[in-house]
């Protein structure tokens, strides 16, 4: 029985991955694939925020870096030798900038998608953690770093095509158009595989003593330090891992969206990522993926019907989750949330604590009298 419970979600997931492409129209499937890929960056945030207690508002940096790496590779891939991506020509760039050269190689790009964001995250993290900057200071600093990257990428037409970003839909892999339905279906499956892999990685990281150390950092970092641990190393490592996951997520998102642009580093987007995790349930891993998919699907649907209302709903969600559901949907579920609701409507019936006393008619009458004594309006 317990076996089945462990495996059931996986079976369902695999079944869904096999069935959905057959029944969903290409557009909806593509949406699902994109939102699933966002689940990977959310998993990374769960790792650093849910487990380690560091709220990064700058995951967009690493997300976009992964996207840019794959974006440039696809641009270069579909060119004849000697040709340059179109935008370079418009800004008078005659030769491929040196730092883009290696992106002609698939292997290099494949590495870069996660190694580059991990390195940037590692360096940034090391500098910040070394100085014991944490809490809201860390959040604000990551946001500032995000803004630095955003402004820089927006302003650099000659190197990275500025605001316009890089397009991928019209590139070809193995002669197949990236934007085509068949290729998008393959990318969906690829995404499912990566989400599972990311989930397994996070689970491995968080289950053992390493995970305990992360939780210890979150709950009492100085204590851990006096036990002989160097939290800086842990935090840097885990921040780099989250950065790598963001990079992979960004790359998958980019090929399924058809474009990577500095907009991926916009301030609100990175904050939204955090809220996916909060809604799903931080510290639960699966909640992060769930939150990313649910909220983005909701956003997509709402914006089709009532675009003006999305900000109200999103703002309301922030408030609701933070104040009333601090453990998110998954946390609520695991703590028996549905049972509470059921109990409220009297099912199952309240069991008497002291049957002899509670069921005594005299005691009940007294309780009734006490109730009617209450002032109107009830609860104090």
């Amino acid at each position: 029985m317990a076996k089945l419970r462990t495996w059931l979600p996986w079976l369902l997931l695999v079944a869904a991955a096999l069935i959905l492409p057959a029944i969903l129209p290409p557009f909806r499937l593509n949406l699902l694939g994109r939102f699933l890929s966002l689940g990977i960056v959310a998993l990374g945030i769960d790792l650093i925020w849910g487990f380690t207690g560091m709220l990064s508002l700058g995951q967009g940096i690493f997300f976009a870096l992964g996207g840019y790496a794959i974006g440039m590779h696809l641009q270069l891939l579909s060119l004849a030798p000697g040709e340059l991506p179109e935008f370079f020509g418009l800004y008078g760039v005659k030769q491929l900038p040196v730092f883009w050269q290696p992106f002609q190689s698939f292997v290099f790009t494949g590495l870069c998608v996660w190694v580059l964001p991990a390195l940037v995250a590692g360096v940034l993290g090391y500098l910040v953690f070394r100085n014991r900057i944490k809490g809201v200071y860390f959040s604000i600093l990551t946001q500032a770093a995000l803004l630095v990257f955003f402004n820089f990428f927006n302003g650099q037409q000659k190197l990275i095509n500025g605001t316009n970003g890089l397009k991928t839909d019209t590139a070809r892999i193995f002669g197949e158009l990236v934007g085509s339905d068949a290729m998008q279906r393959n990318l969906f499956w690829l995404t499912v595989v990566f989400v599972m892999a990311a989930w397994l990685l996070c689970r491995w990281l968080t289950r053992g003593r390493f995970g305990d150390a992360l939780i210890a950092i979150r709950d009492d970092e100085p204590r851990l330090r006096f036990t002989g641990y160097n939290p800086t190393a842990y935090k840097t490592l885990v921040f780099a891992i989250a950065g790598a996951m963001a990079g992979v997520s960004g790359a998958l998102y980019t090929v399924q969206s058809g474009i990577v642009s500095p907009q991926y580093m916009a301030v609100p987007f990175s904050i939204e990522m955090v809220i996916w995790v909060a809604v799903g349930g931080r510290g639960t891993l699966i909640g992060a993926v769930l939150g990313a998919v649910l909220i983005n699907y909701a956003k997509s649907l709402v914006s089709e019907q009532l675009p003006e209302t999305w900000l109200f709903i999103q703002g309301g969600l922030f408030l609701l989750v933070v104040t009333a559901l601090p453990d998110g949907l998954v946390g609520w579920w695991r703590q028996g949330g549905p049972r509470h609701i059921k109990a409220m409507v009297g099912w199952p019936a309240l069991a008497p604590t002291y049957p002899g006393l509670d069921l005594d008619p005299a005691a009940q009458a007294e309780r009734q009298a006490f109730r009617s004594d209450l002032p109107p309006g009830g609860a104090p």
């Binding site: 008078g92 302003g155 037409q157 934007g179 642009s261 907009q263 997509s300 999305w310 609701l320 009333a324």
Partner: protein, 431 residues
């Protein structure tokens, strides 16, 4: 007991918050649907894709409204006639949310899910560049209404706004001839200003102007003191300032310029390419009076067609509203598409795209014609902002043909675009 009470207050709070969020959202939507009228033999869906939320909603709402007005007008006259059948145009609206990747997502949705015949949409160049690969990959059809930086000629896009040679270049020539040789270029830090300024710099070289400085503000930035200092340094005694700022920065720019005494009265000629009647009203005419703008349509254009357009727009959306170039261009493109479809006798996007070349329309600005490079001819005018927020037309350059690949920029000089030619590189080839 205690925990029960606490839970209850929490629950109340939850309930309250949920209800508030829900009510706020639903209240916000208000409004109702339109009623179908007349008898049609069928329908044809078209997509309308603009930012209805976020920072760009300010500008794009007007454009979407102009498109809806054109659709309503066409439907009122019996829709479009294909094969003798009257088809009603049904708009499917989507929100780009001022977020360029969202434009790509929604474009995909309109094409795949709603199967629209054409998409009217976009404002910023970045949103167009985001949608472009979608339309190219799916070989579908976008109509784009805004003046832009050129250097693009897609088989899948029709452009009803001005190319630089229909707005910026004539304006620069006019400034050189009438206002002075020393130019300072100010723009927002994104594609249109950067590219437009590149073009103008080349033009200044060719036509004997003198670039004394340029600067870029991050989008949404409102601190312009460093720019003003630079302008004062570079142009102490007056000169020409060309402004391609976008959105909020414009307000800050003009307010602080005025305060610093960089005004037309002190010998500064300021030409803007992103400020139309609507923006004048939002910034305040008192800050803009005496500055110039170059457009293909002004509300003050004194022709019957122009007057009718403005009257109809005000009747539909309110007396306090104004018309402007982007709205007119958006309005035109719906009519152009309808004419193209009737000419092709089909709403199939490939057929319409072929048929559109050569189609003409009696627009509010006058007669316009779709050229083989998928752009339209435009009337080019220069206006000066008046006290009442309207433009006085001070120069009329006549109707000019669009040039997609810029002829001042060395990289594209000598290239052209002609989709009537049967060649693989019809989008960009050497003349």
């Amino acid at each position: 007991m205690k925990s029960f009470l606490m839970r209850k207050t929490t629950m109340r709070y939850v309930a309250g918050a949920t209800a508030m969020a829900a009510s706020l959202s639903l209240v916000a939507c208000g409004g109702g649907g339109e009623k179908a009228s007349g008898d049609f033999d069928g329908e044809v869906k078209v997509g309308i894709l603009h930012s209805r939320s976020g920072t760009m909603a300010i500008s794009e709402n007007t454009v979407a409204e102009a498109e809806l007005m054109a659709i309503e007008e066409i439907n009122a006259k019996g829709g479009i006639t294909i094969d003798g059948k009257k088809l009603k145009i049904v708009p499917v609206e989507e929100d780009g949310a001022s977020d360029w990747p969202t434009f790509a997502e929604k474009a995909k949705k309109l094409i795949d899910q709603d199967q629209v015949a054409v998409v009217f949409g976009g404002w910023t160049s970045a949103s167009r560049k985001a949608m472009l690969p979608v339309f190219e990959a799916k070989d579908h059809f976008l109509f784009y209404p805004i003046q832009y930086e050129g250097q693009e000629c897609s088989k899948n896009i029709f452009y009803s706004g001005a190319t630089p040679n229909q707005q910026a270049e004539p304006a620069v020539s006019w400034l050189l001839k009438n206002k002075g040789k020393d130019f300072f270029l100010v723009g927002s830090d994104y594609v249109y200003p950067r590219t437009a300024n590149t073009i103008m710099k080349e033009q200044l070289k060719v036509e004997g102007g003198n670039l004394v400085g340029e600067d870029y503000l991050p989008l949404g930035n409102t601190e312009v003191a460093p720019i003003i200092a630079k302008i004062k340094q570079a142009l102490p005694k007056g000169g020409v300032i060309v402004n391609t700022l976008n959105g909020d920065s414009n307000v800050a720019f003009f307010k602080q310029m005025k305060a610093a005494g960089i005004t037309p009265a002190n010998g500064y000629s300021i030409m803007s390419f992103s400020i139309a009647e609507e923006e004048v009203a939002a910034i305040g005419p008192e800050y803009l009076e005496g500055t110039y703008a170059a457009w293909n349509f002004f509300q003050s254009l004194d022709t019957p067609a122009s007057k009718k357009f403005t009257t109809d727009f005000k009747a539909k959306y309110g007396e306090n509203r104004v018309t402007n170039d982007p709205a007119e261009s958006a309005y035109n493109m719906v009519y152009l598409w309808a004419a193209g479809a009737e000419k092709a006798n089909s709403v199939d996007d490939n057929a319409v795209r072929k048929a559109l070349i050569g189609v003409t329309f009696d627009a509010p600005q006058g007669k316009i014609e779709v050229q083989p490079n998928h752009h339209t001819t435009e009337l080019v005018m220069i206006g000066e902002v008046q006290k009442d927020g309207m433009f006085k037309i001070i120069e009329n350059k006549g109707v000019l043909k669009p040039i997609a690949w810029n002829q001042f920029v060395p990289e594209t000089k000598g290239y052209t675009c002609d989709w009537t030619q049967d060649r693989p590189d019809a989008g960009k080839f050497k003349m």
